[in-house]
């Protein structure tokens, strides 16, 4: 079982390698990847150095080019692919068919992974990408149960990677325009969701109110853990009751299900969090690395440590368990 780890900066990259990653994924400092946040990501020379650093330690590097190419500016993405290939990336993680076709044609030897942003959630969808672009691995949406994953893995002709820890998308990834509806910036087009440029925290009495653009996303009474105003994690007025309409501000944690995921035919486990600091990366990667070889009892103890890293201090098994739906 491979452990695939996030890195938003070269420092986090080194932490991930040291902490026991089998592969580290990262992106360029521009809109070609879905974590296009200020101060984050890699310049061309930084990526080259990071890949060399990883290779020297037997660790792979996956480069995410997982936004959708803006019409007329396709060259930005094509250049990203060319530079990642030249830098020695072990795989490109792609979402856009146009970009997949380009990579499959120009770099037929390059391993192509299907990003979760492509929203390939069933065997026919995945086999389409395998046949059309020779995709070697698919990162499955976080909307599937373990039973779904096992069934899908049996019917497809590529490897399966799943998210096991970190931020949770409630919506089908790559198919969500909530952010651009409120802020004009979307994951698909700009690589951002609920961008910081539109976030405001306003103190109202003892409450902390979080806003995104023109909209109030949450209100936290004193003493309650606050959350970032990600749209789908907001508290709303629904038929006059106040509730988390889509999902509580929690993180995904299904490491307790490692054995079931292995049996389901999963090749790689992925940690979310390129936007998190190197301390998060070091802690999440080393703990999950230990958990992979631990007994079930030890595993539970190890994983408790990770709760402090989670948004809202809480975790969920998300869609991996059917009741979540």
């Amino acid at each position: 079982m491979e452990l695939i780890c996030p890195a938003g900066t070269p420092a986090a990259f080194r932490e991930a390698v040291e902490a026991g990653a089998d592969a580290v994924y990262c992106g360029f400092r521009d809109e070609t990847n879905a974590r296009n946040f200020p101060g984050l990501n890699f310049s061309r020379p930084e990526l080259k150095q990071a890949i060399a650093y990883a290779k020297a330690r037997g660790v792979q590097t996956f480069v995410a080019l997982n936004t959708f190419m803006r019409a007329g500016d396709e060259d930005i993405w094509y250049r990203g692919a060319a530079d990642a290939v030249a830098a020695g990336a072990d795989a490109l993680i792609l979402a856009d068919f146009g970009l997949m076709a380009h990579v499959a044609e120009h770099y037929p030897e390059q391993r192509l992974h299907v990003s979760v942003q492509a929203s390939a959630s069933n065997p026919d969808a995945i086999n389409f990408l395998v046949e059309a672009f020779n995709a070697r691995r698919v990162v499955l949406p976080r909307t599937l149960t373990i039973a779904d994953i096992a069934r899908i893995a049996r019917q497809i002709r590529c490897e399966v990677e799943v998210f096991v820890f970190g931020g949770l998308c409630v919506m089908a990834e790559g198919r969500c325009s909530l952010s651009s509806y409120a802020t004009a910036k979307s994951p698909n087009m700009n690589g951002v969701c609920s961008p910081a440029s539109h976030v405001r925290y306003v103190a109202e009495g003892h409450d902390l109110v979080s806003k995104l653009g023109d909209y109030t996303i949450n209100r936290f009474p004193e003493g309650e853990a606050a959350g970032y105003p990600t749209l789908c994690k907001g508290r709303f007025d629904l038929a006059s009751t106040h509730a988390y309409a889509f999902e509580d501000p929690v993180s995904l944690d299904v490491m307790n299900e490692i054995d079931a995921l292995t049996q389901a035919g999963v090749t790689a486990l992925k940690i979310e969090g390129r936007q998190r600091g190197k301390a998060y990366v070091a802690e999440a990667v080393s703990t999950l690395r230990k958990a992979l070889s631990a007994t079930p009892q030890e595993r539970t103890r190890l994983l408790t440590r990770l709760e402090a890293l989670s948004e809202g201090g809480k975790t969920t098994t998300g869609a991996y368990e059917k009741r979540w739906r």
Partner: protein, 309 residues
């Protein structure tokens, strides 16, 4: 240039069978619509509501001269859903509209239509889909005009359609927020989404209307309308304008759009009429201008499109 036509998108909401049937009968007789996309798109659990009326409705529409396209599911995760998709496409006697990647796989080589829920953001993707048999591509609603223009400039492949009226489909989830809002879960939902034929309002804690729930789908609160932008869009090569059914007089909505396309009505006046026809939601067109989707950009009456025509 060929005169642009109107397409009626699938009803995204859960309407009971008779309401659904009567809606289409009225469309068949009254609406200046060339093409009707029909069939449950959002939730596979809902199929039995409309299935008994499907054949009857299709016959009605076709007798009235409408072209009927069969919609297909937007989110396919369960084995049962995969099976339904394969059956739908395997047995289809009419063209199918793809709303998920699985449909693209099954439709390869057959003439088909791409719905607005498939991610087509650039010409490279559009060309690829056209080469696989797509004849019409309805572009994603969040696409700005600057992108629409560049994609539609590709000729010789598919023709292009734009999401011109309706609450914007913004997201879809394996989880049913609509059922959750009413204390149920998806697997035992008792079809509570049917209680709101125009969706359930999601307001902010300040009671500002924001989003709309429709089962597993999340739509905008505002109603996207590109009725003021039709001239620019047809100049750019857009051949079809999609009207997405809301719980209002869609025949009258279609008549308005037709009048604007024909140059028989001025866009500003049409927008005012539209607001009266569908008062449940404010109009928005921000996506077209690369702004917040919820924004409404009023176009000057002596717009650039008039100078061009």
């Amino acid at each position: 240039m060929r005169m642009a036509t109107l397409t009626l998108g699938p009803v995204y909401f859960l309407w009971d069978g008779p309401k659904w049937r009567d809606f289409y009968k009225k469309i068949a007789h009254e609406a200046p619509i060339a093409r009707v996309v029909i069939g449950e798109t959002i939730c596979s659990k809902r199929n039995h509501f409309t299935a008994p009326y499907m054949e009857e409705v299709i016959v009605h529409l076709e007798r009235a001269g409408k072209e009927v396209i069969l919609s297909s599911p937007a989110l396919v995760t369960l084995e049962r859903e995969s099976r339904l998709m394969r059956e739908l496409i395997g047995e289809a006697t009419r063209k199918v509209e793809a709303n998920d990647l699985s449909a693209l796989h099954l439709l390869a080589g057959k003439p088909h239509v791409i719905g607005p829920l498939v991610n087509v953001y650039n010409a490279a993707t559009a060309k690829l889909l056209a080469a696989r048999g797509a004849e019409t591509i309805c572009l994603p609603p969040e696409l700005p005009f600057s992108s629409v223009e560049k994609i539609a400039a590709i000729t010789g492949g598919a023709d292009y359609e734009i999401f011109a009226f309706g609450r914007v489909p913004l997201a879809i989830s394996a989880r049913c927020a609509h059922a959750r809002a009413k204390g149920a879960v998806k697997d035992n939902c008792r079809f509570v989404c049917g209680d709101e034929p125009d969706g359930l309002a999601v307001k902010t804690l300040d009671r500002q209307p924001f989003l709309t729930l429709n089962g597993v789908q999340t739509l905008s609160h505002s109603c996207q309308s590109l009725i003021g932008e039709t001239a620019d869009l047809t100049d750019a090569g857009i051949a079809r304008f999609r009207l997405s059914p809301q719980d209002c007089d869609m025949s009258a909505v279609a008549t308005l759009y037709r009048a604007v396309l024909d140059g028989a009505m001025e866009a500003g006046a049409a927008a005012e009429r539209l607001e009266a026809l569908y008062p449940a939601a404010p109009l928005s067109n921000g996506f077209h201008y690369a702004r917040e989707g919820a924004a409404w950009i009023a176009k000057a009456r002596t717009g650039q499109h008039q100078a061009n025509s």
